[in-house]
Symmetry: C2
Subunit: 417 residues, 2 copies
Amino acid sequence: MIRNLPTSAARIAHDISALAGITEPDRPYTRRAFTPTFLEGRQWLARRFKAAGLDVHIDPAGNLIGKRAGKTPGLGTIMVGSHSDTVPDGGRFDGIAGVAAALEVARTLAEHNIALDHDLEIIDFLAEEVSIFGVSCVGSRAISGTRPAEWLGRQSEGRTLAEAIGEVGGTARAELTRTDIVAFLELHIEQGLVLETENLDIGVVTAIAGITRIEIALEGRADHAGTTPMGARRDALTAAARVALAIERLATGLAGGQFHFAATVGEFSMVPNAANVVPSRVAMLIDARAERRDDMEDFLARLRTELSDIAAGTGVAIAEPRVISDNMPAPCDRDVLAALDAACAATGARHRRMASGAGHDTAWMSRITRAAMIFVPCAGGRSHAPEESAEPEDIALGAAVLLDAVLRLDKDLQEKP
Amino acid sequence: MIRNLPTSAARIAHDISALAGITEPDRPYTRRAFTPTFLEGRQWLARRFKAAGLDVHIDPAGNLIGKRAGKTPGLGTIMVGSHSDTVPDGGRFDGIAGVAAALEVARTLAEHNIALDHDLEIIDFLAEEVSIFGVSCVGSRAISGTRPAEWLGRQSEGRTLAEAIGEVGGTARAELTRTDIVAFLELHIEQGLVLETENLDIGVVTAIAGITRIEIALEGRADHAGTTPMGARRDALTAAARVALAIERLATGLAGGQFHFAATVGEFSMVPNAANVVPSRVAMLIDARAERRDDMEDFLARLRTELSDIAAGTGVAIAEPRVISDNMPAPCDRDVLAALDAACAATGARHRRMASGAGHDTAWMSRITRAAMIFVPCAGGRSHAPEESAEPEDIALGAAVLLDAVLRLDKDLQEKP
C-alpha cells in the first residue's frame, strides 16, 4: 500500500535503528533508565530534537523535552511522546516508536513551516519500564503529581532515586506537577494481536486498564507421597490448581462482554518441591486488568467466594488474598478520542477503538490533562523481547494520525478551554 | 498398657537415643551414608552388636552384619534388619528403629540362651536413603543382585561410589548376591497415619508398592498478561492445573479399591514466572505408587488419554510423558506373613495387614528370599523430619513380634525348604 503521507517512514526507521544501536554490550536492546547507556541514548535523542528545531531541556522530573513555542502565548501546551528506556533484553519499538513518531510530528511541522497556536512539547518520559529502583512511570507520575514521595529514598547501586534523577539532569525536589498541558497524545506498539488479526492500521485507545496484583498463599500439609492415602491429604498444589482454574473461569466470564478484562497467574512457587512429598505450601501472584473498575471489584468479590469454597473442599488453608498493588483504570479523553478518530478518517487509516491491557504513561497523564493514545500493529503481538517488531510505514501512518489530531486539537481547544 | 514382653523398651530407647546423638554438627539427626558421621554411627553399632554376642563384619557390599551361628550347619540364614543412615535433617527412627529392634531380637535370644537351628544375621544395610551419590538401597540391591553396574562409577565429593564402598569396608567388585538367606524380616516406622488412626500396634506389610516417576512437560506461549485476550492464550499453567487435577482424580479412583494407590505432583516449575507474562512452560514430576502393577499400567494409560484431551482443549503442547524410573511392586512372602500374623496373635499385638506406600530394603530382599516386614506407629505419620517420633514400647512390641516370628520360621523352614 502506498500512501501520500506528510510523515517519513525512512526518518522514523533511521531514528529507531540508531537508538537500537545504543545498547548494553552483547545484550540485545537493553537501555535501562539511569544507566550510562540510557544517558547515551538520551544525548543522541537530544541532538535529534535540536536538529528538528526544538528547544531542548531536561525538566525537574528528569524527562527529556523538546519544545516548539506556539504563536499565541498563554494557550498552554499540547504534549506528544512516550519513553526511550527499555526492559532488559527488550525490543526496539516499545516506547521508542512513540518518541520517534512524536519527533516526526515536530519535524514535519518544521518542514512545512506550520506554526501552532499552542506550545508543542515532544517528551521522552523518564523510566516508564520497571527501573533498577523497582518502580515505573517515574517521569509521568512526577509531572502528573502522583509520584509517591517515599520513592525518592529507594536505593539502587549505591544511590537513591533522588540522586539518580539528579544524574539524569532533573532536580527531583522541586514542585513538578504541570498545569499548562491542554492535551497529551502517545503512540505505542499494541503489544497484542488484535490489530494484526483484524488487519487494521490503528487502535484508538479508549482506556488504559487498571492493574491489580494479588498474592494468594495456600497452606496444606507436607505428607509422605507414598504412604498418605489420597483421601487423607491436604495437597497445596491440587488446591492451587483449583484456584488457577477458578481465576481463568472468572476472567473469561468477565472478558465476555465488550470491556477488556484479563487475569493471569504469572508467578507460582511451591514448597517443599520434592518428588516424594505432598506439597505443603503454594504462593501465587495474580495480575488482573480491567477496563472498568466495576469488573475488578466483581472479580475480587467472586475470587474470595471461590477461595473459601476451595479451602472448605480441600482442607487446605487459603489466606485472605493480599492486594499488593491496585491502579485504577484510566479512561481516555472524549475530545482527544474524537480528534484521533477524525485523524484516522482523514489519513485513511483503518482503525478501531480498543482498550489497552498494558499500562502506559498516558494513564498517569490522564490525571492532569485530556489524554489519549493510539496503537500501531506489532508482529505476532510480541513485546519486551528482541523479536519485537513493527513496520516503519505503520509508525509513519500513526505519526500522520498524531499530526492531524494535533492540528485539530490546536484549533478546537481554543474554542473549548 | 503393661505387657510382659521378652524384649526391652529401655534398651531399644537407649540405642536409638545414642545413635541420635551421632549427627552432623548443628543439624538434627543427619547421618548420611558415606560420611564420617555415618561411619562413627556404624562403629558404635558394631560395638553394640559385639556386646550382644554377635560376630561382626562388613560384607563386600558395605553392609554391617552381626552373625549368630545356628545349631544346624547348612540350613541357611534368617536375616533381620534395616538401615542406620538418614536423610539430611531427618529423624531418629526411620531405619534406626528396625536396626535397634533386630539387635534386640539377637540380644534377647542370647539373654535366654536360645540357640536357633538357622544362622541368624542382624543387618544394617548400606545407604537405604538417597545417598550423596544420588542412588538409594545400595546395600540391599547389591546382595539381591539388582545393583546396576554403572552405579559404581558415579561420582560424589571427588570419589566414585566403588571407592566410597571401599572406605566403608566393602569390596564393591566381588560377586555379592546372597543365596543362603532363607527369610528376611524388617521392622520400620509406618511413615503414615493408618496405625495411629485405627489405634493399632502393628501393620503386617503385604507388599511394598511399586514406584513410578513420570515427567510431564507442557509448552504454551509467553504472551503479555495485559494485552492478550483470555480466549487467545496458550497458558501452560492453567493447562498444568488441569493435568494436576486429572492425576488426583485418576489416583483417587484407583485408590478406592482394596489395594494401595497414590499419585502426587511433587515437583512443579514454571517459566518465565514473571508477574505480567502468561506462563509458557511448566515441568511436573509425578510420583505414583501402586500395590498392583495392573493399577499402574491402568494409571499410565488413562493419564495419556487425559493429557491428549487437555492438549486438544487448551492449545498447549504436552509431550509424551517420560517415565524416568519404574520399580515393580514387591509382594511379601505368604509364609513369612503367616508367621508374622501368628506372632502378632501370640504377643497380643493389635494388627492389620496393609501395603507399604514407601520403598524399603525389603522390596529388594524379596527378589532373593522369603521377605516381609512390619510397621510400628509413628506420631502423626511424620517422617524424614526432626519431629519424627515413635514409642520405644511400640518398637519393643514389634521386636517381640519379630522374635516370635523368627522362632516360628526357624522351625517351619526346616520342614519347608
